[in-house]
Symmetry: C2
Subunit: 358 residues, 2 copies
């Protein structure tokens, strides 16, 4: 009878342990990676008070947490998250995961970051189980923050008693990508599929998202802000929202200013994707062609004038040739982003190699 | 002076014509294609009163307009649409374009359907300009309806005076695809990127979407409904939501019933995609493996028992090997759907050829 009672107690205890595992969690805050500047607001990409003369929309967009992530090691079998964003609506060309959600990667046995799980929300504050039924081996986690919203707070939860250790940024060097909504991440299906994030995971280099939706028109105040960074490479993907005239008027300034402040830093110029809608929309067709022609012409002038360390990714269409790679005619879907990465990655790696950056 | 006045009037008239072109539009309703059955409700895929014994969720989901489209020829330079759906919320893993929106293709000079433009909405009734600045050549248009909502009405608008002619379904034969949310279209970025729709455009065959999100568990009432169709091929992609036990219990019934009613119609069995979340979630890992093992075992039994015209797509992972092709760990993004199509298309075309279907 005593043995039976002991067995019963043991069974009850293990059932309670399992239940506790499912319910009791401990939350942690973590340092935020994937941004260049220290900012008074932890989840802002740029100190908008310091750069107060940038256009208002640009300042607002640099409060979005695009490109940011937290990373830690844990043997937790469940992963929870609490986070708050604003009450702005989800964009029509975005999922709630990409816009306001979290995206988790885990380092696999081959040492690669592998997708683990993602959660979207339409609430201003969400608390949810993100991963469950993990084995109890220690793993490295990387959690991307919302692309298109301002993150107000983030806590990561593990089961009580699990190990937990914040990790340093796993990506080396700094590559600043300045661009439009496409850099910002529209229309990735989730935060980890914005193209700078894919590039970081595939190359091990730290591609930093300076994308600003509907913007990136090379305004002087923005150029000066970018030049305050001292990265290992600048990538300029800022043609899509610049008019053909703005491309002609402003390209020389952004390139020569960055070169002046950073004599040895390679600068890569990426042409605009050909907007899929431009194949039938006659007005966009002309505009899109002119944007890229003017961009290339400015590059040629700069080279003729003797600028060094400037590279032009000379490709007609970053999105392939089946016309299927956008969500809305302008913004790449994950299919489009993967195609962009297949072209941009080897080009950028080659430039880094030329400059001895590894 | 008279000549000058005439010229002035001519200029004014042409300016007014351009303005009118931007403002005056004429709306048309059109026959709906991409569904198999005639239904009392035009935008339902199945007559849910006739098949009233199907599970309630299944009936609801067959009121969604997944796979449907309208098609017409016009020389309009602008395309408008008015459509109504329900007031249900957009899914967290979908865009408002895929869930409730329209997706337009235009036949290009090579005779291929090429993406033209898409519009999402969160309203129950939307009226919007979808395409503009088209040249005035006659073109063939194809407009996909919302994947994950019930369409209540649809009108297509062209500019006043433009030609307009409804077209017959451009896709030949009928291939019924019965499946889960993945067939239904989660998480395509827009309606035209659900995998049956991509297959139709690429092959010219009419792949008909019988996908039902969170369902497709081969219930007898659903099997009987499917057998009332008389297509040129059945594709069964119904493993993802069926438990391993349901796969074992129900596969023989669906296959033998379809074979009994349609002695010569090829039947293709597709294994479940490996859910990306199943690589780390130990419970899903076991379940996902068992689902596919049982599915394959049932196929082998059926073949042993002498069934003919049954084909099994024997592939471990339809989504590639970089683990990047889903939106939420279960549902393919456009990247995942395109990878599925690359595998499914040649397999299906080969089976059609074997059966002399062209």
């Amino acid at each position: 009878m005593k043995r039976f009672t002991t067995l019963l107690i043991a069974i009850c205890l293990s059932i309670m342990a399992v239940q506790a595992q499912g319910k009791k969690s401990v939350f942690h805050t973590l340092p935020v990676h994937g941004k260049y500047f220290d900012t008074p607001e932890q989840f802002h990409r740029v100190d908008t008070a310091r750069y107060r003369n940038m256009p208002k929309n640009v300042k607002n967009l640099y409060t979005n947490s695009a490109g940011m992530f937290v990373t830690f090691r844990s043997n937790t079998t469940e992963l929870y998250a609490k986070w708050c964003v604003t009450d702005r609506k989800v964009g029509l060309n975005l999922t709630a995961i990409a816009n306001k959600g979290l995206d988790v990667y885990i380092k696999n046995e081959k040492g690669k970051w592998q997708y683990g799980g993602a959660k979207g929300t339409v609430k201003t504050c969400e608390e949810t189980l993100v991963l469950e039924n993990l084995d109890s081996e220690e793993k490295e986690f990387l959690v991307y923050l919302p692309l298109y919203d301002e993150t107000k707070s983030l806590e990561i939860g593990i089961h009580e008693g699990a190990s937990f250790q914040p990790l340093a940024n796993p990506f080396k060097k700094n590559i600043v990508i300045y661009g439009s909504s496409i850099v910002h991440g529209a229309s990735a299906s989730r935060p980890g599929m914005a193209y700078p994030a894919i590039l970081s995971r595939r190359t091990g280099f730290n591609f930093i998202n300076f994308g600003i939706s509907g913007n990136a028109r090379m305004e002087k105040e923005v150029v000066h802000m970018l030049a305050d960074a001292d990265p290992d490479m600048f990538i300029l993907d800022c043609v899509p929202n610049s008019s053909p005239e703005q491309v002609t008027d402003r390209t020389s300034y952004i390139v020569t200013y960055l070169r002046e402040k950073h004599p040895n830093t390679p600068i890569v110029m990426i042409p605009s994707v050909v907007r899929e809608l431009s194949y039938f929309n006659q007005s966009w067709k002309t505009r899109n062609q002119l944007q890229n022609e003017n961009w290339k012409a400015e590059y040629n002038k700069l080279i003729t004038n003797g600028i060094t360390g400037l590279y032009y990714l000379d490709i007609d269409n970053l999105l392939g040739d089946d016309h299927e790679a956008t969500t809305d005619g302008t913004h790449p879907s994950d299919l489009g982003f993967m195609r962009m990465v297949e072209v941009i990655e080897p080009f950028v790696l080659d430039v880094l190699k030329k400059h001895g950056i590894q």
